[in-house]
Amino acid sequence: MSKTLAQSESTTSTRVVPSRLADGGRSVLPVIDCDVHPMASPLSPDIWKFLSDPTRQYLRLRGLPVNLLGPQIPQQRVFAHRLDSVPPNGTPGGDEAFARAQLLDELDIDAGILNSFGGLIDHGANYPIAVGVDLIRAYNEWLRESWLEKDSRWFAAICITPEQPDEAVAEIARCVKAHERFNQILLSTRIQQPIGNPRYWPILEAAEHFNLPLAFHVGGGSRSGPFTPSGSPNYYFEVHTGFVNPVYNLVSSLIFEGALERFPKTKIVMAELAWSWAAPFAWRLDGSWRVLRDEVPHLRRKPSEYLAEHFWFTTQPMEEPENPKVFAQIYEQFENAGLHDRLMYSSDYPHWDFDAPEALPAWLPASTRRKILGANASQLYGIPVHDSSR
């Protein structure tokens, strides 16, 4: 499609952008990218090699699962990707070296956390259980071998089968032993019931035990029903705008089921689920609880306190109010809900709605940018960063 006659030097050098600069404009703030998407088909050799023979036989016979929303409501691009993020093998997110160069190297990112769409698509739930469990395990092995072992800046979420909590717990334990840079557990926002339901508590228990955050992300899921209470939408615009919708049910469930009371060390990351909804929803949770608290005597604190204690959020998709100064007000409102230190930069590489670090307004104080770009994630995940500005 494009030919470059004059070799551009900018593809390998780092462009320092204003949002990365510390006070004084001299040194560069470290960045941790909390949402990167590796992608590969189970048919690709690097995953296929980990599948058992029965699984391979089954996949040959039946084919791959169809993400329920995908064929019905096509995204505006095949992989919903940036057009400039297609590696030689043709699958955006399918080539570790390419992603490493285009994301970590080019944007000078200290660490990237991999949330695998393979693990989200159907969550192993569209198949006979044994096949689903084997498939999810293969994704984790692929993440370990093709990503984590290639570069120490990669971290990864463990893919699980949430509808089989026992198998999920076993896989979590296995991955924790298999590689130290598995640093969270990945869940779709749309599994069969909201995550606070006691049937999923073994997973919450394991997360707490291993001190791993549970990261929710859009996409995939194990067939929880239509996308809205009033049926399926018709347009990708509605789907994309509606990524946020399940968070209301998830947060409500974790709080009102008493899951956060039962597992007080739980940490939840909301990835690619935006964040400006959180403060008004904290108000609504409290308002509802003040009237209806008799129903939930097992709650010992206000809902907004649970929200402030247990939840983290990634920046993407970044708010873009027409009046840029409104961004500061939105962020202030977010912090006023007790969510200081809870916002973490994410790129969503290689998707089309990608945010480079410069999407964070450069006029925010350096102390705020330091936290959002890297310090908050560094603290949550225990990822050391080299901060030359201090």
Binding site: P194, E257, W289
Partner: protein, 366 residues
């Protein structure tokens, strides 16, 4: 500490905070019993009902469980065994008279959407509307009302709008927030055409019976869990109306969003406007920012308020980008722990009269 001891008598609190004109855009009538509607039903339907031993829509009890605090404010529970809000006299005593309302918009949600038999449901819908006219609208000139329509078949909905929509008391059509097809879908166009022709506002209101789970994350188990998260049900309908270009086809259509408040809205506006810029080609009939369309075609009742700190709420109100969007409501008889003075403190002075009556007066053409 019990709630009864701490919740102020609402009418006094409202009048303490505001002394100007009031239009209450969301008050409820509750049907005292199924038999109340029998005089308004054709005899075949009375027979149909009796021989089945049918006692009324069960869904109502799960939408507004009778014993839960949210279903009725303590001071509005009749001391005897009457159903809350089931008589005009109660409404007058509790809200219309103490608040000295100029007008109030009455909505009767009776969960008739849960009844599947198309003809039987339609018969009850007719009876309900006739009862609202006879026992409420005709007896208190301060009242205007939403008319109820069958939930599932556009042609039946149009028929009922044609039948009663010209009664001067009906200003709105009640459309429950949960439906089997999102309201942006083109199948609903004949209904919107009828609404516009009869100068009726579409009132999207709490309730509804749908096949899907109450939220996209699957079935919740606690009432408060489902209740708090209902924002997403409304948000999906608003998004659908925008994405499907309903207001392009019906530029005169007005929509009220009732009983979910508005603090959640700016977050949705920011997001829709941003997404639209990159995804326009899929829905090219959306030719201007969604937030502009919403400002022009939608209004929001302020109860439940679910307020945060006053300065944060003030920012939310500013981000709405219009002083015409908000309409005062008590949501009688439902119980919300709201404080009107908080809302007024968070709102610029010049907007108070609009919020308390002028926006609703203009919107409903009262």
């Amino acid at each position: 500490m019990s709630r009864e001891a701490t919740s102020p008598v609402l009418a006094e609190a409202i009048r303490g905070a505001w002394s100007g004109p009031i239009i209450d855009c969301d008050v409820h009538a509750n049907v005292p019993s199924l038999e109340t509607l029998f005089p308004y039903l054709d005899s075949v339907w009375v027979q149909f009902t009796r021989e089945r031993g049918y006692t009324g829509p069960l869904r109502l009890a799960s939408t507004y469980p009778p014993n839960l605090a949210s279903t009725c404010r303590p001071e509005w529970r009749p001391g005897d065994r009457r159903v809350p809000a089931s008589e005009l006299a109660l409404l007058q005593e509790h809200v219309l008279d103490p608040l000295q309302v100029e007008r109030a918009i009455l909505t009767c949600y009776y969960a008739l959407d849960s009844l599947r038999h198309p003809d039987w449901a339609a018969a009850f819908v007719r009876a309900l509307n006739d009862w609202l006219v006879a026992e409420w609208l005709d007896k208190d000139p301060r009242l205007a009302a939403s008319l109820v329509v069958p939930a599932r078949y556009p042609q039946d909905m149009v028929r009922e709008i044609e039948r009663v929509g010209d009664h001067p008391g009906f200003v709105q059509v009640l459309m429950p927030v949960r439906s089997d097809r999102l309201y942006g879908n083109r199948i609903w166009h004949p209904v919107y055409e009828a609404m516009v022709r009869h100068n009726l506002v579409m009132g999207i209101h709490w309730g509804g019976t749908a096949e899907a789970s109450p939220g996209p994350a699957g079935w919740p188990t606690w009432y408060v869990e489902e209740y708090a998260a209902e924002v997403q049900a409304y948000g999906a309908q608003v998004t659908s109306l925008i994405a499907e270009g309903v207001f392009k086809v019906f530029p005169e259509l007005r929509v009220s969003i009732l009983e979910i408040g508005f603090a959640w809205l700016p977050s949705w506006l920011f997001r829709m406007d941003k997404e639209w810029k990159g995804l326009r080609r899929e829905i090219p009939w959306v030719t201007r920012p969604p937030s502009e369309i919403i400002r022009e075609h939608m209004r929001f009742s302020v109860t439940p308020l679910d307020a945060g700190p006053i300065s944060d709420l003030a920012n939310v109100i500013e981000w709405l980008g219009s002083d015409e969007l908000l309409m005062f409501a008590t949501d009688y008889p439902h119980f919300h722990d709201d404080d009107l003075s908080v809302l007024l403190n968070a709102t610029p002075q010049h907007m108070h009269a609009k919020l308390m009556s002028e926006n609703a007066r203009a919107w409903y053409r009262l």
